[in-house]
Symmetry: C2
Subunit: 123 residues, 2 copies
């Protein structure tokens, strides 16, 4: 049975090009037997950011706490605790914390893309 707390599961630095001061923990994913989607927890340190990129699968995101901005649809939007964001496939996006506040969010991805290929970071 899986009950895991985001405050006690260790995160690992995200080594992807364009990421800065971001860490990630797969909370539920492929290796847990999840058949359809993976739930990951991201922490962006103050002043950090995820890569500005796009890919062929969607995100569903929940901002747990902190403050930051989201680049999506060609513009920058403020985001904060309680916000739910949908990032459609193939849309350029980037999450940033503020210089003084960390940002923590859940980011869910489908387990598979492109006819069965494992989605990167799906555990």
């Amino acid at each position: 049975m899986i009950i895991r707390n985001i405050n006690t599961v260790d995160s690992k630095p995200v080594e992807m090009d364009g990421a800065s001061d971001v860490s990630m923990a797969v909370m539920v994913g492929r290796t847990d037997g999840a058949p359809n989607f993976a739930l990951r927890h991201f922490t962006v340190a103050p002043g950090g950011h995820s890569p500005r990129h796009s890919h062929d699968y969607e995100h569903e995101v929940f901002i747990v706490d902190g403050e930051g901005t989201l680049f999506l649809d060609g513009a920058t939007h403020p985001i904060g605790a309680g916000d739910v964001v949908y990032v459609p496939a193939n849309e350029e996006h980037q999450f940033k914390s503020t210089p003084t506040s960390p940002l923590r969010f859940l980011c869910l991805v489908p387990i598979s893309r492109n006819c069965g290929e494992p989605t990167p970071g799906s555990g």
Copy 2:
């Protein structure tokens, strides 16, 4: 573009048999064009509960705030803010708040089950 806050989107009472004092809002779902999974926000008033039931699709759950219990794997477990829960398909489960605390959680489901049939509550 979808950025919606769980504190400002209206919830509707869950009318399902066995549910008591539970409301739900689909934050991102089928009608938003989400292709793989739906993100719903549930509020259980103090003393309320979801149905004790099972179904042929999984849940991935995040406890936003409050305190409660989860019945899963034949036993009752305490749950609280920051917990992530995986409820496999076909396992009996039930979420309860405490008599004095509401419980708020995200519950994600696949958009489709059983070879393409829309999952109930997927928006």
